[in-house]
Symmetry: C2
Subunit: 336 residues, 2 copies
DNA sequence: GTGAAAGCGCTAACAG
DNA sequence: CTGTTAGCGCTTTCAC
C-alpha cells in the first residue's frame, strides 16, 4: 500500500509534484510526469479517496436511498444510477430502508457522515422531521420515481399513465372496467398508487363510465397479493364481472392474469388485462402495458446530481420522463 | 457542519476529551461526558467517517460486488448483506459489474481506493489477472452464491439441489425428463449452471434413466428466454415429449409453465415442472421448487466479514447453506 | 481526568 | 516547473 509520500521520496521529488502529475494537472514537465507515472505504476499506487476527500471535501461517491432492493423499479433505477456514476468514476453508497423498518430512524445520521457528495432518493416518502434533516444536509438531492415533496423529481406522470392505460380499454369498447390497485403492501411510496388511481377515476368519469366499487381490489403492488385479490374478486362477483382490469403495476397485472386463468377464464377473451411499468416479464405474459424506462430515469438523476456537483450554481431540475403504451395480447375488444 | 474541534473550543475542552467522550472511551468524568454529549446533540454534531477512517484505517464500509442488480438472487442477497451491515453501523458501497461489461476492467482500482474495509462478492467469476489483483487487496473477502475459486464461499450445494429436484420427479414416476438449463444468457456465473446440470445428469444416471439430448434446452436463466426455448421444444418434439421438466432456476420454470400453457397443454397433467431457487413469484405459479434463502446467505456473509474485521486472526470460512424442497401443484405423477 | 502534539494521505495556496 | 507549508477532521500516544 504505497502512498504519495512514498513514491515522492523514492523519486526525490515533492508530494505536490507527484500529486499534480498523477492527476494530470498542468505545471509539471513532460519528463517528470513520465517518470512519476511509471513509478506509480510500478509500485501499484492507488490514491486513497478518503484522504483526498478530506482535503477537497469531495468523496467521489453519492448515496442512493432505496425503500427496498426487492422490486423491479428500484433495482432497475439503481442500475441506471450506478452506470452513469461509474462512468464518472463515482461510487455508489447504498442506503436500503428495508421497507421503512427500524433502520429508518438512523438513516440521516449515516447520510450526514460526509461520506457522499450527493443523494438520490428512489420514491421514498418522509415525515416532517426527516425533511428538516434533509434541509441541513446541504448536498445535491434528487428524487426518482414516486413524488417526494420539496425535492426535484424525475419520473413519469403517474396520473397520465393511468389515464392512457384506461383510455386504451375504453377505446377497445370496454365499459365494465375493474381496478387492481390499492396501496403498496409494504408501505412503500403512496403517491404513486394514489396518482394512478386518480388517473383511472378521471378517465372513467370523463368517459361517463360507471365506477363499480365492488370491482376495485387491493393488489398491494405485488404479484402474489394481486393474484389472490383477483381470485377473490372473480369468486365474489360471479357472472357479473368486469370485462377488463386496469392493474396499477405490471407485477399486479401478471398476478391478475394468473388468477383469471386459474379461474378457468381466458385473457383477453373473457377479461382484458392492462398493466403499468414495463416489467421484464411482461412480454412473456403477453401483457399490454405502459412502458417506462426506469434505468434511464436513474441515469438521468445521476447526471443531474453530477452536474450540480460540477457547477454549484446549477439548480437541480426535475423532469417528467416518457412512457409508451405497448399493446400485446392481453387486451382486446370485449366479447359481445 | 460542526466539527469536533468546534465543539471542543465552545466547551473550552480539548479535542481528545471530546473525542473520547463521544465514543464512550474510558478516562473521562461522568460530568464532562454529559456536558459534551449535550453540546454535540445541540449542534447536531455528526462525526466524519472519512476523517476518522483516515486516522484509524477503518472506513466502516464494505463493498459488495454484484454482477447485476436485475436478478432475484443478487438483489435478495444484497438486501441481506445490507441488513446485517446496517445493524453494525457499516455502510455498503455497491460495485455493479453490469453483466461484466466494460466497467469490469476498472473494478479493482475502485475497490482499492481504500474506501471499504472488506468485500463481499456475489457469484462472479474472475480471470487470472483479477485474482492476482484480489490477492493484493489484503482485505477480508467472501463469496456468496456461485463458487468463486480461491475464496471462501457461502451458498447451497448446487449439485445436490439439482439431484434432489430430479429425484422428486423420479420418485413421482417420471422417466421422460427434460432439462431447461444452459448457461446464463448474460454471461453471469457459469459454475452454478454447470453444477446444477451435473446434479441432473448424476441423478438420472444413478436411476438408470435415459438422458434425451433433444429434451435439453437453453433457458439462459431468464424467464423470457426459457419460455421461448420450451415453446420451441414442444413444437419440435410433438407427441414425443417429456412428461417432466427440470428447470435450473425458478425464473426459467415460470417461463416453462407459460410456454406449456400457451401450447395448450396443462401443468402438471401433461408436463410436470420443477424449479430451483425459491423466487417470490414461485408460489403464485404453484411451482414446486427447492427453496434457498438468499437473504440469509447475504447476512451470513456480512457477519463473517465483520467478524474478520474485529479479530484479524479470524480466518473466513465458507459454508454450505440449506435449501428445502417445497412441493406445490406443478408436479405430479405422469399420466398413464 | 485532561491536554498537547503528532500523524493518517492527500490537496492547495504560496513561494521560489 | 517544483518545493514548502498548511491544513482537512479525527484518533492516539504521551505527558501533566
Amino acid at each position: 500500500m504505497s502512498t504519495l509520500a512514498q513514491i515522492a521520496r523514492d523519486l526525490g521529488l515533492s508530494k505536490s509534484t507527484v500529486s499534480r502529475a498523477l492527476r494530470g494537472k498542468p505545471g509539471v514537465s513532460e519528463a517528470t510526469v513520465q517518470t512519476i507515472r511509471e513509478a506509480a505504476e510500478r509500485v501499484g499506487y492507488i490514491p486513497s479517496v478518503t484522504a483526498a476527500g478530506l482535503s477537497t471535501g469531495r468523496n467521489e461517491a453519492i448515496g442512493v436511498l432505496v425503500p427496498s432492493t426487492n422490486r423491479w423499479f428500484y433495482t432497475t433505477a439503481l442500475s441506471g444510477v450506478d452506470r452513469a456514476l461509474a462512468a464518472s468514476g463515482y461510487d455508489v453508497v447504498l442506503f436500503d430502508l428495508h421497507y421503512a423498518s427500524g433502520s429508518r430512524r438512523m438513516f440521516h445520521k449515516k447520510l450526514l457522515r460526509r461520506r457522499v457528495d450527493g443523494l438520490i432518493v428512489l420514491s421514498t416518502e418522509f415525515d416532517e422531521i426527516e425533511y428538516a434533516q434533509f434541509a441541513t444536509v446541504g448536498m445535491p438531492l434528487i428524487a426518482v420515481g414516486g413524488t417526494v415533496r420539496r425535492m426535484p423529481r424525475i419520473g413519469i406522470d403517474d396520473v397520465e399513465v393511468a389515464r392512457i392505460a384506461t383510455r386504451h380499454l375504453l377505446e377497445l369498447g370496454h365499459t365494465r372496467i375493474g381496478l387492481v390497485g390499492g396501496l403498496d403492501a409494504d408501505g412503500l411510496n403512496q403517491v404513486v398508487p394514489i396518482k394512478r388511481t386518480d388517473g383511472w377515476t378521471l378517465e372513467l368519469r370523463g368517459a361517463g363510465v360507471c365506477i363499480r366499487e365492488d370491482w376495485m381490489v387491493e393488489g398491494g403492488f405485488r404479484l402474489p397479493i394481486a393474484k389472490q385479490a383477483v381470485a377473490e374478486l372473480l369468486d365474489r362477483v360471479g357472472e357479473d364481472r368486469p370485462t377488463a382490469l386496469l392493474c396499477l403495476s405490471d407485477e399486479m397485472a401478471m398476478g391478475a392474469i394468473l388468477a383469471i386463468r386459474d379461474a378457468g377464464l381466458r385473457v383477453p377473451d373473457d377479461i382484458s388485462v392492462i398493466g403499468i411499468d414495463g416489467h421484464p416479464f411482461a412480454e412473456a405474459f403477453g401483457l399490454t402495458t405502459c412502458v417506462q424506462d426506469a434505468e434511464a430515469q436513474g441515469s438521468l438523476a445521476a447526471q443531474t446530481v453530477l452536474a450540480q456537483l460540477q457547477d454549484t450554481t446549477h439548480r437541480a431540475v426535475g423532469r417528467i420522463t416518457p412512457f409508451e403504451l405497448t399493446v400485446r395480447s392481453s387486451t382486446s375488444a370485449p366479447a359481445v
